[in-house]
Symmetry: C2
Subunit: 308 residues, 2 copies
């Protein structure tokens, strides 16, 4: 059983979509990543920080999902990171209404001793210096370091971001961010430039339009499963990353062919995430549902054309 180390936010989210709205609910990149990865045979730990307003029931929930929370710091008298956002009608864009960093402002990640030899490190979207600090604490080079980031860090900490990108094997990034990072409109050209920054593999996420996987020789594409209802895209990208990382931690195979499978597993899990608000669907999700939908993914994409 592979070991997966996750660093990222554990948070409260308040979400409004065209289909409804929530009060403060469980959110955060590391939460979604951990829940997605929990569907694989993997030992995982979350390195993060919350305030003592963070309910014990949420901590228990993560523990129940076999996620080690011993390095999820609870700051006494502190408040948990809070994000409030409202999605536009097409669900592909959103406005951030509130961002309260709270305890995250002084977050100093400490990798637990038992995960300093993790097989896979999944660096969720955070300040690149925090991501770098986690890499620096590893006792041996992980088989795979996967980095997620966003435009905010490109705007504000590009130098630090470029440094941490250098040390990663896989970057997951959305299409607009790939374009911003490289100043290339074509995603093929963007991926080429990102390879030159360090990562052997580049995953470009396009939300409801699926995801690309590039290495220097190959490209693979997985669509998002077309759904009757999308309630809330929050956490879909992190769920994708968690499924991707969890599958790779389990299989311990970093070939392009296996990363293709990881992209499919990530897309498959993300297709559930968006069916309910926040983590609701991921918490209730069962193995047989996952397997059934993998069959749908195959039917959706596989064809048998005679090639010459």
């Amino acid at each position: 059983m592979g070991k997966l180390l996750i660093v990222g936010t554990v948070a409260f989210d308040a979400i409004e979509t065209p289909f409804g709205k929530t009060d403060k609910i469980l959110g955060g990149a590391a939460t979604f990543i951990g829940l997605a990865a929990s569907h694989f045979e993997v030992r995982s730990a979350i390195v993060s920080v919350v305030g003592d307003d963070f309910p014990q029931e949420y901590l228990d929930l993560l523990t129940k999902k076999n996620i080690d929370t011993s390095s999820l710091e609870v700051v006494k008298g502190g408040k948990t990171f809070f994000w409030k956002g409202k999605y536009h009608n097409d669900l592909n864009s959103r406005d951030t209404l509130v961002t309260e960093l709270n305890t995250l402002a002084d977050f100093n990640p400490v990798v637990p001793a038992s995960f300093k030899d993790a097989d896979v490190v999944m660096l969720g979207n955070l300040h690149p210096n925090i991501q770098m600090s986690v890499i620096d604490q590893m006792e041996k080079r992980p088989k795979l370091i996967i980095l997620d980031t966003m435009n905010f860090w490109m705007d504000n900490t590009l130098e630090e971001l470029t440094e941490v990108i250098k040390h990663t094997d896989v970057i997951t990034i959305n299409d607009e961010e790939a374009r911003q990072l490289t100043n290339e409109y074509s995603l093929v050209k963007a991926a080429e430039k990102i390879h030159k920054l360090g990562p052997k593999y580049v995953v470009i996420k396009k939300g409801e339009h699926g995801a690309f996987l590039f290495n220097e020789e190959n490209v693979f594409f997985a669509p998002a499963l077309p759904l009757e209802e999308v309630f809330d895209p929050t956490g879909a990208g992190d769920t994708f990353a968690g499924g991707f990382a969890g599958y790779l931690a389990t299989t311990e195979n970093t070939s392009f062919n296996n990363l293709k499978n990881a992209v499919i597993h990530g897309s498959n899990l993300a297709s559930f995430c968006v069916e309910r608000f926040g983590t609701e669907r991921m918490i209730a999700l069962e193995k047989n549902e996952i397997n059934k939908r993998l069959h749908q993914f195959k039917a959706l994409t596989q064809f048998d054309i005679e090639l010459q």
Copy 2:
């Protein structure tokens, strides 16, 4: 060898993209459809109208591509339909700067006697009454009637459009148009509603984001091939439709599995169309290039995951 009847515009286009601009060049839905279909073993004919300003060299070009132009009416003293458009930076949207209907305003399609038994009828984007008139002229029910349309006809001639849709087997439509036609945001729900209007198969085109094929039980997705350079999206949708229709006219098999292959062939040809302005790439395109790119499509989409 199957027979394919094509109705649609033959036109002059003037195009501006972020990468360059053209004077009046050869364009029109039927032109792109015919050129795409010419890559299959198929007898095709274009029913359309132009003015006598339409160069003989363009007519010769279509004839050379094995397209019957005997029902491409040339109106003496008339002018050819002209469209001028400018694409936005993302190439996914455009402004129409000029539309001169000219001879198209009084177009009265006449299906040539030798194509009244066509296997496949491809109704390019035109007034639904013109599309209906072509269906009415067929001596026997074609194996497959494929209809392309656009939001303009939904806005202005919805009743007539609904009538012609009733008589078609396949509709090709883009995502925004599918949403407009059905008032459903989810493409899955939109496809369900469109099935109820008549068509057994619904193809929803998403431009650079690929295309869905639905019937009432199944869904299939083909991505657009990721390209280093996209110069000009003009005609990509029609090229897709032409490849789709041409392949089906050749194979004369209307099963879901064969329509999947038709979607791949259409996507494959469309990936070439956008590499140059207008019809330039399609005219020069050779068999070995097409076959090579089909291999790329397979590598792009096929995976081998163990299912439970």
